[in-house]
Each structure stands twice: as structure tokens, then as C-alpha cells.
């Protein structure tokens, strides 16, 4: 899927550029974006290091496990392939909580931590598991309790009632999230799981 989208975006750009005469802009788009991508990543290094360290402390203190256990019923339904008591549960809860609070600096590293935990359950490291996709669906739909950036934009534009959008955003995001998770759950049946996904996590648990 990503192979076709990736190539498709670039191929369409080339064809459109041929008709519009926008080849310069396409070149500029490519070069600037490559630079931006690296800048974004470099900007992540410090904050990522900090949160991965703090998360390790939280894990050692038993907090991650506790968080996972508190929400066990929901987690079991959303991520049936993740065993009870696995650190992935707590890491995913932390990440979703950070996203809901709009703590963007913390949310990305925490999400990556959760993905790493899910990867430890994955028998085929190159292929996404059902749990990874469901988790991603939950986060790409962006559940946020207070859309702080947008309130800022409305205030800057001179709004008389900038917080009016809080309710509409909450409802829209809840509907979008439900749809994304439902889609992930339904579509997973049509995409074969990473091979041996049913056996491998259990046996690796035992060997640990």
C-alpha cells in the first residue's frame, strides 16, 4: 500500500509539473522536505532521550504495569494479542494520555516506546502486527481534550468566543477515532498476520 502511495505521489507530481511547468517547485518541494524531515528528527533526539529514560524509571517502579492493569478490560478488547501484564499495555496508556492532554513533546516519545514494546511481541520484525495498527489508528485520529493550537489561532484572529470549538472538536474526534479503530479491527481480517503471530509471543514469553 505504502509502496504505491509513495510512488504515486511522486509520479503524479512529475506529470502535473510537465503540464503546469512547475518542475522548479517540485524540486524545491523535494529538497526542502528532506531537510525538514531531518530537522524534525534532530529536534526529537533530546526529548526522546529524556522520555525513554523516564519511562524506564516508571517501568522499574512498576508504574507502567499498574497503569496497564487499571485499564485492563479496554486494553484486552483493543489489543487481544498483547498479553496481560506486558509492558506494552502501560506504555500505550501513557502515550494515549499524553496525546489527550496535548502534551506533544511527551506524546511522540511515549508512542514510540509503546511501538517498541509491541515490536517485542512481533515474530516478523518487518511487518506490522494487529496491535500496532490499532494503536496507530487510535493516535492518528488525534484524540485531544483541548485543541490548544486552534484556540490560539482563533484568539489571534480576534474571535469573541474561541473556546466554542472545544465541544465540536471533541465530538468530531471521538467519531473519527471510533471509525479508525473499527476500520483497523475489521480490516485486520483481510491482511494476513505476521507469520506465526499466534505461537511466537507465547513461546517467547516462556523463554524469558
Amino acid at each position: 500500500m505504502l509502496n504505491y502511495i509513495w510512488f504515486g505521489l511522486m509520479a503524479i507530481a512529475l506529470v502535473v509539473a510537465a503540464f503546469n511547468g512547475t518542475a522548479d517547485a517540485v524540486t524545491k518541494g523535494a529538497i526542502d522536505s528532506a531537510k525538514t524531515a531531518v530537522e524534525i528528527t534532530l529536534g526529537l533526539i533530546g526529548i526522546m532521550t529524556l522520555w525513554l529514560g523516564i519511562m524506564r524509571v516508571a517501568e522499574a517502579a512498576g508504574l507502567v504495569d499498574l497503569l496497564g492493569r487499571m485499564l485492563r478490560p479496554i486494553m484486552r478488547w483493543l489489543f487481544p494479542d498483547v498479553p496481560d501484564g506486558h509492558p506494552a499495555n502501560g506504555a500505550m496508556v501513557m502515550s494515549v494520555a499524553a496525546n489527550m492532554l496535548g502534551l506533544n513533546n511527551a506524546a511522540t516519545p511515549l508512542s514510540i516506546k509503546a511501538m517498541e514494546e509491541l515490536q517485542s511481541l512481533n515474530p516478523v520484525k518487518e511487518t506490522a502486527t494487529n496491535a500496532m495498527v490499532t494503536f496507530m489508528a487510535l493516535n492518528t485520529s488525534g484524540v485531544q481534550l483541548i485543541p490548544a493550537t486552534m484556540i490560539g489561532v482563533l484568539v489571534a484572529a480576534g474571535s469573541r468566543n474561541p473556546t466554542a470549538i472545544i465541544a465540536s472538536t471533541l465530538v468530531a474526534t471521538a467519531i473519527g477515532t471510533a471509525a479508525a479503530v473499527a476500520a483497523a479491527k475489521l480490516l485486520e481480517r483481510f491482511y494476513p498476520k505476521p507469520e506465526a503471530a499466534l505461537e511466537a509471543p507465547a513461546s517467547s514469553e516462556v523463554s524469558q
Binding site: 517540485v26 523535494a30 522536505s33 529524556l50 506490522a128 495498527v133 468530531a172
Partner: protein, 177 residues
């Protein structure tokens, strides 16, 4: 009132977590600094792992935007949007939202300024931005960090969520405002 509580939580959450987590660790006899360093070591490698994935996705989107293909797509889909009563003014934003964070923020700001921050379209634009995430960025970062290349149903599932969120935005705003 509720807004104030959430704002306070947002402001205090990070400092409280940064102190609170090691504090509980100490209570449980964890060597907090040693453990912190141990976990933090991975930070650099994880960030570097993301680079190829993010460069790949952002470059393709940057080329697509640069060529003007976005305008063509918007114009081509205009009749379809009109048929389902989706405001054509908001359609470019609905598409941009999933592709680029900075691009959709600029577009939203522009829509809010053009139509007014308290207008229906202004609020729809703000709601649309706030109710979703930059799907392709999240995809590249999450899967890039753990080097997963076969994403299976991740793209269709996330896009279905984005489309539903965009339609829900228009419906909810039309009903509320």
C-alpha cells in the same frame, strides 16, 4: 471551568511526571539515575532510525504539493463534494490534514482569517484541524522508529478515520453553530 482544569493539567503534567515518576521509583528502591541513563541511551538511535522513513514520506508529499497537483485534485473532486453537501472551501483542508502538519495549519489559519474566526467556516476549519492528526507523519515516525516496512492495513484504517472525522466535523459544526 472544565477548560481551566484541563489547562492547568496541561501546564503541570510534565513537571509533575518528571519529578513524580523518579520519586515513586525512589520509594520503591529503584536506582533512579542509573535506570534513567540506561533507558535514555536508546533515544539517539531511535531518533536516527526515523530519518529514512520521514524523509521518504515528506519528500513525496513535498513534491506533490509543489507541482500543484493538490489544486487539480480539489477541482476534480468539487462536483462530488457538492453532491454530498461537503463545503468545497474546506475540502483542500480535509485532504491536507492527513498529509502535512505545517501545510494544514497554514491553510486553517488562512480559512479562519478569510471567513472570520466566529463564522461557521472558520469554526469548521478549526474543528477539522483539531479533530485529526497528520496521519502520514505519525505513520512514518511510529513505524520508522521500529523499522517496520510492511504496514498492512494501517494506511486504509487511518484514512477511513480521517475521512469520517472530516465528514463528522462538517455535520457536527453545522448542527452546533
Amino acid at each position: 471551568m472544565i477548560r481551566l482544569i484541563f489547562e492547568q493539567i496541561s501546564i503541570w503534567a510534565i513537571p509533575v511526571l518528571l519529578v513524580g515518576i523518579p520519586f515513586i521509583g525512589l520509594l520503591r528502591k529503584v536506582k533512579v539515575y542509573d535506570v534513567f541513563i540506561d533507558g535514555a541511551k536508546e533515544g539517539f538511535q531511535v531518533a536516527v532510525n526515523i530519518i529514512p522513513f520521514l524523509v521518504g514520506i515528506l519528500v513525496a508529499i513535498g513534491m506533490f504539493r509543489g507541482s500543484g497537483a493538490m489544486d487539480l485534485l480539489t477541482n476534480a473532486l468539487r462536483p462530488v463534494m457538492a453532491a454530498i453537501n461537503f463545503p468545497p472551501e474546506l475540502f483542500p483542508l480535509a485532504v491536507f490534514r492527513s498529509l502535512t502538519g505545517s501545510g494544514s495549519l497554514a491553510l486553517t489559519t488562512d480559512l479562519v482569517k478569510t471567513h472570520g474566526p466566529d463564522s461557521l467556516f472558520g469554526r469548521m476549519a478549526a474543528t477539522m484541524y483539531g479533530s485529526s492528526e497528520t496521519t502520514f507523519y505519525v505513520l512514518a515516525v511510529y513505524f520508522g522508529a521500529i523499522s517496520v516496512k510492511k504496514t498492512r492495513h494501517a494506511v486504509p484504517a487511518a484514512l477511513i478515520g480521517d475521512i469520517v472525522a472530516a465528514i463528522a466535523t462538517v455535520a457536527v459544526c453545522a448542527w452546533m453553530f
